[in-house]
Symmetry: C2
């Protein structure tokens, strides 16, 4: 079986011609380039395209003790979908580049594609091409996604206005806690063992993050959401990005930061302050943004009506770019942090952070 | 200087806001995703988008003895532009993902971006985003490009018709010969030494390939070019792809295969048959396609008038999918080959080939 046949085996029949066609795919996997149009539903209305890429490197962003092959495939695509969500867009197409060492057998690659296609099916993303090469030692997976947004409606990082409310669309720090659990475990625990444990939801949050393109679209449609990010590098880091891109001060209120009960209990059992993971954990892939204060209540209700959490966690003020944490007794400057939690947990430096450009 | 600052240094100011805007960039590097529209010039006319990705891995596709950092950046983008050319499209935007080991200092990364931006400037490609991560040992660069094509005009691999003429848009085998020269040299030769040598053009072909999006567009506009590929994996392999995708027989005439004089002389000095590099060399990034025989003459004249070579090298026949080489005294089946010449030259296996999906 040559490389082309393996690729065909990994990809063919996974998404039907009808399903692909509804997503604007005119020519998919198998030619020099894919040919695409906006997915159905955007007809007539002018759209702009969103483009994002995200890469995961074995030993830097994951290892096989903490993630299965299918988890890696799933998460690589989910992280990209989260970037589209963070612009208020609808994810459409994906290209997948995998450089795999010889140790990644055809069977393991099949599992990786199982995860990719599971995520693609969940979010309606058409996989339209890619590249597969060998690698000397470590697996590298790089996923590019496209998305569409009604023309002029993309929500950047840079639009936060003094007076806006700051919000997040889910609890923070679960992924970092899940990773801590996985690294502390003596060996990669079986699925059953994890599910039986309270840490199951934390591990799940780490391995199978839940990006929120629906939340992003609902927020973009309102026209009152002025700035949006997804929490990939940690809440503190994302707040700093919003503050610096917008030239504003952001004040986060500690008492409003959403804690998951299981995360907080796990952190305390480990003798750690849950706030560390909440602010510096990263890879939560919830949305953080700012919205006109007088629409925050209604926006929150609209998101919650669709099952998407919405927490007001602070306010935007004019002033020098920066982020402050209000702990009740006054404000203190909040360090940017933004370290990659995997790297930190394994004692590596923060140069391993995964920085979009 | 943190990672974000380094990325800014590598990318900011390289392409002006006006230049980017003319290429449809509404929001470029620095947010969760880029926001793009079709470049100027396509206004009103409906376009489809082309999407392609191509990855180069240190030790698999290049090493630092044969390529400089700037060469790697240039070639990674050029290979992608060639994929857009092979659909008859106009390249528009690029996303660049680089996983770099610690040995790749900020200075070396700057050189890599110098090469990327040199290629982007030459072909009018807007760099709109990317991802930069660390890597344990080897550099991996993955470039995604978009392109546009008038709706319905993309030229696939699968349209070759019996009676078509088969053509290529440039001589073959130069890149493989250049790589052979580089690997045989005792150390990476300085630029002056190479230029003084006849091998200069071969080395240049290997390091700085010249994709032909203009040729692809001219061919697509005629409406008579039925199938198109770029020669990334070797002429034999590309002819096989056209034959298999189209369900036809392709007969290549040895006497018509374009040889470069310096390549042929270098091959003979090395005791090698130039035909090996012509058919199995790869990375030439010229176009190979099939065109209605009664338009071949005129199409060739139109390309040559723009400085783009055009050689008729064979014919398409009905019959079982396959490729034959006519050596004057009769036809013989042509082996698919398609090995990666870098891998072969270094004695590695075929599994290192770089296969698009």
């Amino acid at each position: 079986m040559d490389e082309f046949e393996r690729i065909r085996r990994w990809t063919s029949g996974r998404q039907s011609p009808q399903w692909l066609s509804a997503r604007g795919v005119r020519l998919g996997i198998g030619d020099d380039a894919a040919v695409v149009e906006p997915p159905q539903g955007a007809d007539g209305e002018p759209v702009q395209w969103l483009l994002a890429v995200d890469t995961m490197v074995e030993t830097v962003h994951f290892n096989w003790r903490t993630m299965s092959e299918a988890d890696v495939g799933y998460k690589a695509l989910a992280a990209n979908i989260s970037d589209i969500a963070a612009m208020g867009g609808q994810p459409a197409h994906a290209l997948v580049s995998i450089s795999a060492p010889a140790a990644c057998t055809a069977e393991r690659m099949t599992s990786l594609y199982d995860g990719l296609y599971a995520c693609a099916a969940r979010y309606g993303v058409a996989i339209v091409g890619g590249d597969t090469t060998s690698a000397p030692e470590h697996l590298v997976i790089s996923v590019t996604v496209t998305g569409t947004v009604p023309a002029g409606r993309a929500v950047p990082r840079s639009g936060a206005k003094p007076g806006d409310a700051v919000f997040v669309t889910g609890p923070l720090g679960l992924s970092a806690a899940g990773l801590h659990y996985l690294l502390a475990a003596p060996a990669r625990p079986g699925a059953a063992a994890i599910e039986a444990d309270e840490a199951g939801s934390l591990v799940q949050a780490h391995r199978r993050p839940v990006p929120s393109p629906e939340g992003g679209r609902l927020l973009a449609e309102r026209g009152t959401c002025h700035a949006l990010n997804d929490v990939s590098d940690g809440a503190a880091s994302e707040a700093w990005e919003l503050a610096e891109a917008s030239g504003v001060s952001i004040v986060l209120e500690e008492a409003r930061l959403p804690l998951s009960g299981s995360m907080a209990r796990y952190a305390r059992r480990q003798g750690r302050d849950p706030l560390d993971w909440v602010l510096y954990g990263g890879e939560d892939y919830v949305l953080m943004g700012t919205i006109a204060a007088d629409d925050a209540e209604q926006a929150g209700a609209a998101l919650r009506a669709r099952g998407i959490p919405f927490y007001r966690i602070g306010v935007v003020e004019s002033g020098p770019s920066g982020v402050w944490l209000d702990r009740g007794g006054g404000r203190a400057p909040l360090a940017k942090g933004g370290y990659n939690h995997f790297a930190s947990a394994t004692g590596e430096s923060d140069d391993d952070s995964n920085d979009e450009i």
